[in-house]
């Protein structure tokens, strides 16, 4: 289980352009960090670098567990959720098939997937094909895996953008419970998160340097 992560002088480049350099951050259990910054500042790249999908050009991300440091690959594969811009859903499959796969793939069960879907108000939609769902409903379907399979580190990239006010409330509760249970949240968001989060500015962006 991840109990803390520390990002140590991380640098990420996209092509020839250095997006982030010398980025330091420590995140402890029960803590949330809200990454702010202009469009193109590198918030998404930062999250993907923490998830191990992008290889940083310098620096590293260290995952700490109860018994010391955990290898990054293991930590991420067993104990991190990444919610990106895209929901990773197949349009031709039913909402339930997709929710179940996402939950099982990340370590949940049929029962936990069903409970998570009910929690996010998806109960009546589960028989429908994903293509018939709205953007907000699809996002909720993707968010269901956060509740369905317990993983410590949540990497969230604009998780609430398509959600309505009520659903933001439900999601805020989910996040609060996660933090209370010793979870960690690293979220990129332009709107303020519905929970107490430490704001961190990610530099650069379209107009900078």
């Amino acid at each position: 289980m991840i109990t803390a992560i520390s990002i140590e002088s991380l640098a990420v480049a996209r092509g020839d352009r250095a997006l982030i350099s010398g980025f330091n951050l420590t995140l402890d259990a029960g803590e949330a960090v809200a990454l702010a910054g202009r469009n193109g500042a590198g918030k998404t790249s930062l999250l993907r670098a923490v998830a191990g999908l992008i290889r940083p050009s310098a620096g590293r991300v260290v995952f700490h567990g109860e018994d010391g440091e955990i290898a990054a690959e293991d930590a991420v594969a067993r104990d991190a959720h990444l919610i990106g811009h895209q929901d990773g859903l197949k349009l031709s499959r039913t909402a339930w098939d997709e929710a179940l796969f996402q939950a099982e793939w990340t370590g949940g069960t049929t029962a936990s997937a069903r409970a998570a879907c009910a929690r996010l108000g998806l109960g009546k939609l589960l028989g429908l094909q994903v293509r018939k769902l709205s953007a907000g409903q699809r996002r909720r379907l993707a968010l269901a895996r956060l509740a369905a399979s317990p993983r410590s580190l949540w990497l969230l990239d604009e998780p609430m953008a398509p959600l309505d006010r009520d659903q933001r409330g439900v999601f805020g509760q989910l996040m609060a419970e996660h933090l209370a249970g010793g979870g960690l949240i690293l979220a990129a968001a332009h709107d303020p998160l519905p929970i107490a989060a430490r704001p961190i500015e990610v530099g650069g962006g379209e107009n900078a340097g």
Binding site: D87, G88, S92, R93, W105
Partner: protein, 221 residues
């Protein structure tokens, strides 16, 4: 292992339920087979001589058809991110994808192939070797195709690019398979080319998932 079976089931469900996969490949195969007599003329002797090699070659081509969807769909809709953060390494997922492609596309093609060969006038006795070559060689078509599919991730018109990457690699299995079928028909020793085909397919099955996973990781970063 659980991750492997999860992703395999999902891939199979996607390729069978999404429509298009096997139906498209089988339709293409049948259409090509019915065009052959029109192109070659009505001389049955000529048809019989050409049918086995033709059936084998078109099987290789038809297996290219749905390769583009093997990785591209997961890449575009973000599912590849999720898959990369799961319990199974990407290599395992690539193996599952290749096997699913084999079960959904080249497997059905291999079953159809002897019917086509016999319909074109070849003797019924060729049917077993055609199925065998189709099933075994199909493995190499799927896995080599998967390498092409993962290498072309993110490029526009991936389909054409895949064909260009993959077709040269199809040369050995096409030669070995056609050799085995021809030798079998002529009552010569067909075991040697068939064993070579087995060896090539097994090597492709064992090695290609690593290449696919590396290419997919590269596309994600």
């Amino acid at each position: 292992m659980r991750g492997f079976s999860l992703v395999l089931r999902r891939e199979l469900a996607l390729s069978w339920a999404g429509g298009g996969g096997p139906v498209l490949a089988l339709g293409f195969y049948l259409a090509m087979a019915s065009l052959l007599p029109l192109a070659l003329g009505a001389d049955p002797a000529r048809m019989v001589a050409v049918a086995p090699g033709f059936a084998w070659l078109v099987l290789a081509l038809a297996s290219l058809l749905s390769l583009e969807r093997m990785f591209e769909r997961d890449f575009e809709d973000g599912a590849l991110d999720l898959i990369a953060l799961g319990p199974a390494p990407l290599e395992m997922t690539a193996l599952a994808k290749g096997l699913a492609q084999w079960a959904a596309i080249t497997g059905p093609l291999a079953v159809l192939a002897p019917i086509v060969v016999v319909a074109l006038g070849a003797p019924l006795s060729l049917a077993p070797i055609v199925v065998t070559c189709g099933l075994i060689g199909g493995l190499s078509f799927c896995f080599l195709g998967g390498v092409g599919a993962s290498l072309s991730l993110g490029s526009r018109r991936g389909g054409v690019l895949i064909a260009l990457i993959v077709l040269p690699l199809f040369t050995p299995p096409v030669i070995f398979g056609a050799g085995a079928i021809e030798a079998f028909g002529a009552a010569l020793d067909w075991r040697a080319p068939l064993l070579l085909l087995c060896a090539y397919s097994l090597a492709a099955t064992a090695l290609c998932p690593f290449a696919m996973a590396a290419a997919a990781r590269n596309a994600l970063s």
